[in-house]
């Protein structure tokens, strides 16, 4: 009986492996390889149709900076805590966030690529402890 005839014969509830085991009994090495090629073909993996990975909420909140000089990195290190162990990572971003909030509120203005304080704001000390940018009185 040829291998193709073998593979077409199947009894109920018999797994492929069980059929294979039966077929290879008393077969030569070459015959076993042929039966493998006829019977044990790989089964395709089921397709995935669910949600696709995208930019995570974590990554949406992450930016990597490369400065023009190391001196800026050193300066920033004096202002915020930087984890040098993990490639200069930090979650201590409140100074940057405050800076960006000031830009949004137009307390600070960027004109011709230079950062200036808005003319209607002044620096005001609250008794020595803190200095704030506050609106100039009209």
């Amino acid at each position: 009986m040829t291998i193709s005839k073998f593979t077409k014969t199947k009894s109920h509830n018999e797994s492929i492996i069980e059929r294979f085991e039966k077929l290879i009994k008393n077969s030569s090495k070459r015959e076993i390889r042929k039966i493998e090629m006829a019977l044990l073909k790989p089964q395709p993996i089921k397709r995935y149709t669910g949600k696709q990975p995208g930019i995570s909420s974590f990554h949406k909140k992450t930016i990597e900076f490369t400065f023009s000089s190391e001196k800026y990195v050193e300066q920033i290190e004096k202002l915020i805590r930087i984890n040098k162990h993990i490639r200069f990572n930090t979650h201590d971003t409140h100074i940057f966030e405050e800076f960006l909030d000031m830009i949004s509120a137009e307390k600070l203005i960027i004109e011709n690529g230079k950062l200036i304080m808005a003319s209607n704001y002044i620096l005001k000390s609250d008794g020595g402890k803190q200095t704030k940018i506050t609106r100039r009185k009209k």
């Binding site: 076993i32 090629m37 073909k41 990975p53 995208g54 995570s56 990554h59």
Partner: protein, 470 residues
């Protein structure tokens, strides 16, 4: 010239091309240790070889394949800068690279895997002795180390004395590679390599010294290894093994002239006309060009070894992506989860897929729950700090097609995330494990969550008395 003669010359290629070479300081150019590109499911990503290649001519060698297909590869032998490495082992790293290695691995006494792409005890070691000096430093520091080898330099008196002197420490473990059950078979596929019986002697010698030994049944070649496997397993058990680690032969779709000859020879030995046609027909396409036969072909052979390990209380390890779930420790090299004789040998990472898929299988068969696997539960950059190191990211094979700018930001963690979420990647867990884990949804960070899928064989094996909760 007959094919047999051609194969024997081909197998001795590196020996012939380095005949009479005495290594000097100029030859200290080989970059090792390095991080394995298989880190996603590897318990010992810190891998090391003291020479750029080995003297042994194993016809099936994957390292020979990768090296001979690399156009920049020179067959001239090189070695590592062993004095710098020894300083690092002793806690005094003096180069930028060694400082990084020290910080992420040596300081933590992370398990050192020696013998990833060459053999630590091959004939090049006999004539140069560089490995011996490194082994001595590791012994002095009680540094946990796993050797994978076949070579006979281990029988030299200096090595025997060294391993004997430090045997009480038990900081060394040994994986001895044997894939041909008889000496006659091993002579056919392993040119210039100590025959099987000699390697079993090595297992016996090291086990009698009190060391943890593993039979490394890799690559298991269907058509060769199965012909006498029962006898081989029993002989190794009697010699003292505590674990068996198996992985099946895989064939790369690319080829070189030398590899074509080797494939032709292997075709004859395993009983096929064309090795390539056989592998093409039986390998899932989802895994790409590195062709691995599918689960159905491997099942009966895995079952034999798994049952043997269960019956004899050995650690069963499978580094093949198929049946990887059956590992009884989280290390597919067969290192134990617990080793009270020297707990430093337990110092391999659990932050990888071999551990997770093994845990998922256990959970499934012990509690009937389908385990879900999240990216953050597998990879832990706070513990495995190398994952976030840009310098080490350059070790990965994936950076070779990246621009310099892209390379500046690449880390192993980023590579892992990219592969984890790319269902087209042959290394993606769904493809690599060929459906054994499947994506079900995404988590809050936008990464796939995978779940463990039970296979037909599992119920059947259980009904036959095999324990899948080990």
């Amino acid at each position: 010239m007959s094919l047999r003669d051609e194969i024997f010359d081909e197998g001795r290629r590196f020996v012939l091309e380095n005949k009479g070479l005495k290594l000097d300081d100029k030859g200290r150019q080989y970059l090792s240790p390095r991080i394995s590109s298989e880190f996603m499911d590897c318990s010992m990503p810190l891998t090391f070889d003291q020479y750029s290649h080995c003297s042994l001519g194993c016809i099936y060698c994957f390292a020979y394949f990768f090296k001979s297909c690399n156009q920049t590869f020179s067959s001239k032998l090189h070695t590592v800068n062993h004095t710098a490495l020894i300083d690092t082992i002793h806690g005094e790293p003096n180069s930028a690279r060694n400082k990084i290695m020290y910080e992420h691995f040596f300081k933590k006494k992370f398990l050192f895997h020696w013998g990833g792409m060459a053999d630590p005890f091959c004939n090049f070691e006999k004539s140069n002795g560089i490995g011996y000096q490194i082994v001595k430093a590791l012994a002095e520091e009680n540094y946990p180390t796993l050797f994978s080898f076949k070579g006979s330099a281990i029988f030299k008196p200096n090595f025997q004395n060294l391993f004997g002197d430090y045997s009480k420490q038990k900081n060394f473990a040994f994986q001895v590679s044997i894939i041909a059950p008889t000496d006659k078979q091993s002579k056919e596929v392993e040119i210039g390599v100590p025959v099987t019986s000699r390697r079993i002697e090595a297992i016996r010698m090291l086990s009698q010294m009190g060391y943890y030994t593993i039979l490394r049944l890799r690559p298991y070649i269907i058509g060769i290894t199965n012909e006498g496997i029962d006898d081989l397993l029993h002989k190794c058990l009697e010699a003292g093994i505590r674990a068996v680690s198996m992985e099946f032969f895989a064939m790369d779709a690319r080829s070189s002239v030398g590899m074509r000859k080797r494939y032709e020879w292997l075709s004859k030995l395993i009983g096929v006309k064309s090795l390539q046609k056989y592998f093409r027909a039986l390998s899932p396409s989802e895994r790409g060009g590195y062709m691995r036969l599918n689960r159905l072909v491997k099942e009966k052979y895995v079952k034999t070894v798994y049952k043997f390990c269960q019956d004899n209380n050995l650690v069963f390890a499978c580094s093949d992506p198929d049946f990887k779930e059956l590992n009884t420790s989280g290390s597919c090299c067969g290192m134990p989860d617990k080793y009270p004789a020297n707990p430093l040998l337990e110092n391999w990472t659990r932050g990888q897929m071999t551990y997770m898929i093994k845990e998922a299988r256990k959970k499934h068969h012990m509690h009937g729950t389908q385990a879900k696997i999240k990216f953050d539960s597998v990879y832990h950059p706070n513990t495995d700090t190398y994952l976030n190191e840009v310098e080490l990211g350059q070790d990965h094979v994936m950076v070779s097609d990246r621009t310099q700018a892209q390379r500046q930001g690449i880390t192993y963690l980023k590579i892992a995330k990219e592969i984890w979420n790319n269902l087209r990647s042959p290394s993606n867990p769904r493809n690599y494990f060929h459906g054994k884990v499947m994506p079900i949804t995404i988590d809050g960070d936008g990464n796939f969550i995978y779940k463990y899928i039970e296979d037909e064989y599992e119920e059947k094996w259980k009904s036959e008395g095999l324990d899948l909760t080990r």
